[in-house]
């Protein structure tokens, strides 16, 4: 039997897995899931009477799971640190990143401005659209690292905030 701990958003879940027929039996708390791998990342899940068709793939340390209506991304707790995923509650909110590489078409705030949560800070053009980048939390603008026309990536923060 293998044991795993997964992180999804702010939650943690412990699972244990054992072989069952040609698939797996996964136990999470009181619930038992019978999982049959089909092929190429597709799985059939049975939980009591309920059956579901899911897709699951691990890529660069992240488990991408498609449950039909809902898609979720999980990490193993033991991998989380090494691949730079922090628990949701500890996520650093004082640095604002671009959601994708692109070009800054407008800077809407100045250093020292007080901003509200979700207030638009910068507009980045990518994929032929203007995408607003908003403040993750209320605070004060400490630094702006890019100017209009600059190309930006997702690695360096666009804006740094001072959180109250």
């Amino acid at each position: 039997m293998n044991k795993y701990q997964f992180i999804c958003g702010s939650g943690k879940l412990d699972t244990s897995v054992e072989k069952s027929g040609q698939g797996w039996r996964v136990t999470i708390g009181e619930s038992v899931y019978e999982i049959d791998p089909i092929h190429n990342g597709l799985f059939a899940i049975a939980n009591g009477e309920r059956r579901l068709f899911a897709a699951g793939v691990k890529h660069k340390g992240i488990y991408y799971i498609d449950l039909g209506r809902v898609q979720l991304e999980l990490t193993e707790a033991s991998d989380a640190a090494s691949i730079g995923v922090a628990d949701e509650q500890h996520k650093v909110k004082d640095k604002v990143f671009a959601p994708m590489p692109g070009r800054v078409v407008k800077v809407l705030v100045s250093v020292c401005d007080e901003v509200k949560e979700r207030q638009q800070l910068i507009i980045v053009e990518a994929m032929k659209m203007e995408n607003p980048v908003s403040a993750p939390a209320a605070g004060k603008v400490k630094a702006i690292h890019f100017a209009q026309g600059d190309q930006v990536d997702t690695e360096s923060p666009l804006v740094e905030l001072e959180l109250p």
Binding site: Y4, S16, E18, K19, A54, A55, V57, L72, K128
Partner: protein, 504 residues
């Protein structure tokens, strides 16, 4: 036979529409040539073409918008016709002009009709003369903000600014009060310049809660023009449709006939040939207004194909080859109900923010009445260079409620991992009581979907169970053979090839 229509067709586009156009060519037995940028060397549209030509670096300006390079690719490969798809050069009159000069048939309208209809300002004037109803607004464009202020005042706020060269919601801004006008104008111009290379914009009255209804038309070079009924494209975000359907629940047979006749009038007034789409806004009182005519095959053309029973790309090719409209186009009818959901690389749970990444799993839904027009495959990177449309999911069913159920099932069957999509969002729109009741309009999403709950707590345990199975599945490496590295995809996966022990 059909294979005599053209020797070879170059498809001057990428992704799903290039793939779909090539399928139409194949059905007529005509070989195809793909063009691709350096970013698209592994793209699906290149893979399925009979030949392919590299036309430049990733930037659209240097590849898919490079007329000279595309025309020379067509010449090099011996193509005698070119299909532009939608987007990129599809509505640029310079392309049919360049084709003509090169002796290549352009599969679309003539340059003059395209130029006229591409200019929203000129075409408004023309259609007013032809007696087609128009929305109150500016007669022409202007560089002067005062002209916009005056027009806005006379039409009454809210007003909408649109790109003269526009389409697809780009370069569009709603303005609710005068104080916002200057900013909106600047933003619209900037976007229009980026998207179309032309920052001319104009202003119209903004109708509250209208439906967006468009009519498909098809005109040959022998003076025949027919309409193939309507599509309703009211479910929009960022002023761009994500769900389309036909028939529209808003049209009576009488209204449909009047609008269809006006659509044909628009096409004829413009001297239009080939496939095109006449867009109307329909207000709550049943009044409709001509909005614009799109001089290309539309993203949403498949719903017409399924309900009317035609292959629009095949018809486009036949018209371009000079054939008159076939008899089957003279006794058209609507049969059943079709819905299309656009599958963009965007996050339906986070304000439709574009999403980039590698597609780490991809499997399409299947079943009777389900059609997928896709431009992606597992393993592809979705990058920042191009429009984020990845695929279109289309269903056809005997009636609207069955179509909604079938689309819901199909969206749940459709697995795409690695980039975000709006599949869950669209399932919730489709099953919203107001949508089910057929009460759709262009602000539907703002009005009904903004307060939706997006939690997924109930699913986390299920997801963790699947993740556990993924984590536990051991590799089975090929044991025999002289080359230790020879492991095929097959040998490392599969339900029937799982080893006897787990992990460690």
């Amino acid at each position: 036979m059909a294979s005599q229509l053209f020797k070879k067709i170059l498809v001057a586009n990428r992704s799903e529409i290039a793939v779909r156009v090539m399928r139409g060519c194949k059905a007529l037995g005509i070989p195809t040539v793909a063009v691709y940028s350096e970013a698209d060397a592994h793209s699906k549209h290149r893979m399925i073409a009979d030949q392919s030509v590299l036309i430049g670096p990733p930037s659209p300006r240097e590849s898919y918008l490079n007329i000279e390079r595309i025309i020379s690719a067509a010449r090099e490969t011996g193509c005698d016709a070119l299909h532009p798809g939608y987007g990129f050069l599809a509505e640029n009159p310079l392309l049919p002009k360049a084709c003509k000069e090169a002796g290549i048939v352009f599969i679309g309208p003539g340059a003059d009709a395209m130029r006229l209809l591409g200019n929203k300002v000129e075409s408004r004037v023309k259609m007013a003369d032809a007696g087609v109803p128009l929305i109150p607004g500016m007669k022409g464009s202007s560089a002067d903000i005062a002209q916009f202020e005056k027009a806005a005042e006379s039409a009454g706020y809210p007003v909408i600014i649109k790109a003269a060269a526009g389409g697809g919601g780009k370069g569009m801004r709603i303005v609710r009060e005068e104080s916002q006008l200057a900013d909106a104008l600047a933003a619209a111009r900037r976007e229009a310049m980026n998207a179309f290379g032309d920052d001319t914009v104009y202003l119209e009255k903004y109708l509250s809660d209208p439906r967006h209804i468009e009519f498909q038309v098809l005109a040959d070079h022998h003076g025949h023009c027919v309409h193939l009924f309507e599509r309703e494209c009211s479910i929009q975000r960022r002023h761009q449709t994500i769900i389309e359907e036909t028939p529209s629940t808003a049209l009576t047979d009488e209204l449909r006939a009047r609008m269809g006749a006006d659509a044909v009038r628009v096409a004829q007034a413009a001297g239009y040939t080939n496939a095109g789409t006449v867009e109307f806004l329909l207000d709550k009182s049943g009044k409709y207004y001509f909005l614009e005519m799109n001089t290309r095959i539309q993203v949403e053309h498949p719903i017409t194909e399924m309900v009317v029973g035609v292959d629009l790309v095949v018809e486009q090719i036949k018209v371009a080859a000079g054939l008159p409209l076939g008899d089957h186009l003279k006794k058209l009818s609507q049969r059943g109900h079709a819905i299309e959901c656009r599958i963009y690389a965007e996050d339906g749970e986070n304000n439709f923010m574009p999403s980039i990444g590698t597609i780490v799993h991809y499997s399409e839904p299947e079943g009777p009445g389900i059609r997928v027009d896709s431009g992606i495959m597992a393993g592809m990177d979705i990058g920042i260079h191009y429009d984020p449309i990845m695929a279109k999911l289309i269903v056809h069913a005997p009636d609207r409620s069955t179509a909604i159920a079938k689309m819901t099932d199909a969206l749940e069957q459709y697995k795409i991992l690695g980039v975000k999509t709006s599949r869950r969002f669209m399932i919730e729109v489709l099953n919203h009581p107001e949508f089910v009741a057929g009460r759709t309009y262009t602000s539907f999403i703002d009005d009904h979907m903004s307060a939706r709950a997006t939690g997924s707590d109930g699913h986390v345990a299920l997801a963790a169970a699947v993740a556990s199975a993924v984590a536990a599945a051991p590799v089975k490496v090929s044991s025999g053979g002289s080359r230790k590295s020879s492991v095929s995809p097959w040998e490392s996966v599969g339900a029937w090839q799982i080893g006897d022990t787990i992990g460690e």
